[in-house]
């Protein structure tokens, strides 16, 4: 069931991506809002750092994959 949900979500996103519309610059005002940026916030930098040391998973743009500290 869980797998089906994941596959469905992926398919939905792929379909969404292929059905995108061409936008003129004046139509991008909402997309260009700083809150809409497809990145982590600057203020999140140290949160992501501690999560990557306390959790087994990292990467894919949420926490760096190597380097850094030998924290304990």
């Amino acid at each position: 069931m869980k797998r089906m949900i994941k596959i469905s979500a992926c398919l939905l996103l792929i379909i969404s991506a292929t059905s995108c519309v061409h936008l003129k610059e004046y139509q991008k005002s909402r997309l260009n809002d700083s809150e809409m940026a497809l990145t982590n916030r600057k203020v999140e930098k140290n949160e992501l750092n501690f999560q990557s040391y306390r959790e087994g998973a990292s990467g894919a743009n949420a926490g760096k994959t190597g380097g850094g500290c030998g924290c304990n």
Partner: protein, 447 residues
């Protein structure tokens, strides 16, 4: 009526004065108007303007205070109770300076200089010495450098970066190359980043595993070599004649990452980004001061394989709902060859109280399965090939929630024009391993 008449006359006189805000070199050479003007040409300021010149684009300061409690530290092999304390405080500060200039082809060059400084106190570090008398804290310094060139016509970018991190038991050097290109209509962007981290782990062992000092007695002097690398020569009377300190041995750890991303604007309110990394690690992947207690009651040092392959894939989806609510969502699935599987899902809902002030509550869910080399305190067998009791590799769930505030008024924060953005964020984190932490961060942007 008289007032209105005088106002119109006054306005007309002001218009005749032609008070210009700015003038270019060419217009400065125009013949002077025949009528009275308050304007005085100031050619020097305007003619020196050069759009290609190197300038400071942005300065960012990020500071955080982090506090953590827990009682199954990896240093004590997951031993529950006060000696397994995981109490940590960390004060982090980062400065980032972006310099920008245009080259002959009008391509934008950005040079980012970063410097970070952390100071932490770690109660578990004191238990590297079994009696709890070890050094309970330290500092970390991490400078970075990145140079990116953006093509003025295509919007594509290419860049290189370098990174260093140093603390008393761990040194790391990194380098990366990154490249991106946009689709023809500029609604999509594909990016690749290749990273390499080349680390050195200092081999600091728990006190009970430090070899006894080696003593040699040639002639009338005695030479003592300790495990920490100190070599002392003593006279026959026991006085120190000479003392030298050699650096502690280290072991390398290498991390190579290829990170791929593709972002796409779907419509005027929705955009999405797909992310995937290929990560390979090799070398000394344990930490030498992490204990493991076997089911026999004896302890040893954590031992993990010398290679690891990680595959995280993720998606970000941001949607502008109505006029002042935004949905920022993220999902990641992670798999590695140590047996860990993980899901991360987060949602943040910025609400724009005004166009320049937003409040953003957020929630993040995380779960993972245990790595096949993990077992809790006193559950490993001495016959196991690899063993760790570090709860980073245990099966657990975690929740992280909090709220952020962002202020970016056009006149500057607190009326200071250069202070263009202020963000404050608080988060509370809990793991089912009993680890609890709080973090508060402040980010300030100056232009």
């Amino acid at each position: 009526m008289k007032k209105k008449f005088l106002s119109v006359i006054g306005f007309a006189i002001l218009c005749r004065f032609q008070v210009y805000a700015q003038i270019s070199k060419d217009t400065a050479n125009l013949p002077k108007p025949a009528y009275t003007s308050l304007y005085t040409p100031v050619g020097q300021d305007s003619t020196n303007y050069n759009p290609r010149a190197l300038r400071i684009d942005e300065i960012d300061l990020v500071s955080s205070y982090y506090r953590q409690t827990g009682d199954h530290s990896a240093v004590m092999g997951g031993m529950p109770g006060p000696t397994g304390t995981q109490n940590v405080t960390d004060f982090s500060n980062g400065l980032n300076l972006n310099l920008v200039w245009l080259n002959q082809a009008n391509n934008k060059n950005t040079l980012s200089l970063g410097l970070g400084y952390d100071h932490h106190s770690s109660a578990s570090a004191a238990y590297v010495a079994l009696n709890g008398g070890g050094k309970p804290g330290g500092t970390r310094i991490y400078p970075s450098l990145d140079w990116t060139v953006e093509n003025a016509k295509t919007g594509g970018t290419f860049g290189i970066g370098a990174y260093y991190s140093g603390e008393y038991n761990y040194k790391s050097k990194g380098i990366d190359f990154h490249w991106s290109t946009k689709t023809n209509d500029k609604s999509g962007e594909f990016g690749v980043k290749l990273q390499g981290y080349f680390d050195q782990v200092t081999l600091i062992y728990p006190s009970e595993f430090i070899p006894a000092p080696a003593v040699s007695q040639p002639g009338t002097t005695t030479t003592i070599t300790t495990a920490s690398g100190v070599v002392e020569t003593l006279s026959s009377g026991g006085q120190v004649i000479s003392s030298t300190k050699n650096s502690l041995p280290t072991s390398p750890r290498t991390t190579l990452t290829a990170a791929f991303s593709y972002s796409q604007q779907i419509n005027s309110r929705l955009q999405v980004m797909f992310l995937g990394d290929l990560v390979t690690q090799s070398g000394y992947l344990s930490l030498p001061f992490h204990r493991v207690y076997f089911n026999t009651g004896k302890d040893t040092i954590e031992k993990l394989p010398s290679s690891r392959f990680k595959l995280p894939v993720g998606v970000r989806l941001n949607y502008f709902l109505g006029d002042n609510i935004i949905l920022r969502t993220y999902y990641r699935y992670y798999i590695d060859n140590w047996g860990t599987r993980s899901n991360t899902a987060s949602i943040e809902i910025p609400y724009k109280v005004t166009p320049f002030f937003s409040i953003s509550p957020f929630y993040r869910y995380y779960d993972q399965t245990a790595a096949k080399y993990y077992a809790p305190y006193e559950q490993h067998s001495p016959t196991d090939t690899y063993y760790t009791s570090n709860e980073e590799y245990a099966k657990f769930n975690a929740g992280f929630y909090g709220v952020g505030f962002r202020i970016a008024p056009p006149a500057g924060v607190f009326g200071w024009h250069n202070f263009h953005e202020l963000e404050i964020r608080y988060g509370h984190y809990t793991q089912t391993t009993d680890l609890v932490s709080d973090v508060v961060s402040v980010s300030m942007g100056f232009k």
